[in-house]
């Protein structure tokens, strides 16, 4: 436990993570100060900046991998896509609980937004993984536990989105989406653990100890960039969900006394 905590502390205090901490600080500042533009644009621009720098360093500065050669550079987009897809699905999960316990539709819009962004990242993850697998493993696709679990994860959340589209009443829709999202979240621990539970083609998670320092830095940089861009996506998508909900709401009526 202590070694886990000290390991976590070492990861969190690494210099490259200032991208994340500064990003969150800027986000908090923008929310508080209420500038003329929407607050999420600050993290959007910040994420885009670091994605540019991260990709440039990944292509030109990071060393090639000892065995995978240049192809190892795909790690800097593949791994962040995996991490952040799971983070975004976690946001959907927490928002689903938020709605079911509070009844506020704002949470429901966050579920709608995060599920969609999560599916986009998950789709990107599968395509990048396929491109990575061809030169390294010698196949575009194989039904190994990790790949299968990642595909099922995406299909499940597509199912949640489809289910959502099929329910008309806003409150019912929110409840159904929330319940479906919580159950669908089961896929995230399964996908994460799949490489440990079952013998698979996919390698296990790397740890800071199993990765070259420059590679680690570029990967973290890209991961923060993916996260910031995803926060921007979710916020933009949330506003869309909000606008849709406002549009479909009936004109406010005089509520009779005594009725709920």
């Amino acid at each position: 436990m202590m070694s886990f905590l000290s390991g976590l502390w070492a990861i969190l205090t690494e210099p490259v993570n200032f991208i994340g901490w500064l990003g969150f600080a800027m986000m908090a500042g923008a929310i508080r100060m209420k500038p003329k533009f929407a607050w999420e644009h600050t993290v959007g621009v910040w994420g885009l900046l670091w994605l540019t720098i991260g990709c440039a360093l990944g292509l030109g500065w990071a060393p090639k991998e000892a065995m995978m050669g240049e192809v190892g550079r795909i790690l800097y987009v593949h791994v962040p896509a995996a991490w952040i897809a799971m983070v975004v699905f976690t946001i959907a999960f927490v928002s689903a609980l938020g709605y079911l316990f509070s009844g506020r539709l704002g949470w429901d819009w966050a579920v709608e937004a995060a599920c969609e962004v999560g599916v986009v990242l998950n789709g990107l993850l599968l395509v990048l993984g396929s491109i990575f697998a061809k030169p390294t493993w010698n196949t575009w696709w194989t039904w190994d536990p990790r790949l299968t679990a990642s595909l099922v994860m995406m299909l499940t959340f597509i199912g949640v989105i489809l289910l959502r589209g099929a329910v008309r009443d806003p409150n019912r829709r929110a409840t159904w989406t929330g319940v479906a999202t919580i159950v669908a979240y089961l896929n995230i621990p399964i996908t994460y653990m799949s490489v440990r539970w079952w013998a698979s083609m996919h390698q296990q998670q790397s740890t800071p100890a199993t990765m070259n320092d420059e590679m680690k830095m570029v990967m973290r940089m890209c991961a923060w960039a993916f996260l910031m861009i995803s926060i921007w996506f979710i916020a933009r998508r949330w506003r869309l969900a909000q606008a849709n909900a406002m549009a479909e709401m009936p004109e406010p009526l005089e509520i009779p006394k005594g009725a709920r």
Binding site: L51, C55, G58, L59, A66, M67, M68, G69, E70, V71, R73, I74, V77, H78, A81, V117, V120, G123, L124, V127, L128, I131, F132, K134, P135, T136, I229, F233, R236, R237, R239, L240, A243, N244, A247
Partner: protein, 46 residues
């Protein structure tokens, strides 16, 4: 065609096309999703 043993070194040589494809698809995905958000927001306004 069978390579002679020396040709299979245990290391991947080249393969830049896979790297460029991966980075390009990443940017394209983000770009297209941004575009879709923008288009849907515009439709909502009108």
């Amino acid at each position: 065609m069978i390579p002679i043993a020396a040709e299979v070194t245990g290391r991947i040589e080249g393969g830049w096309e896979f790297v460029f494809a991966a980075y390009a698809i990443t940017w394209a995905t983000f770009g297209l999703y941004t575009l879709s958000l923008w288009a849907r927001a515009r439709r909502e306004e009108s």
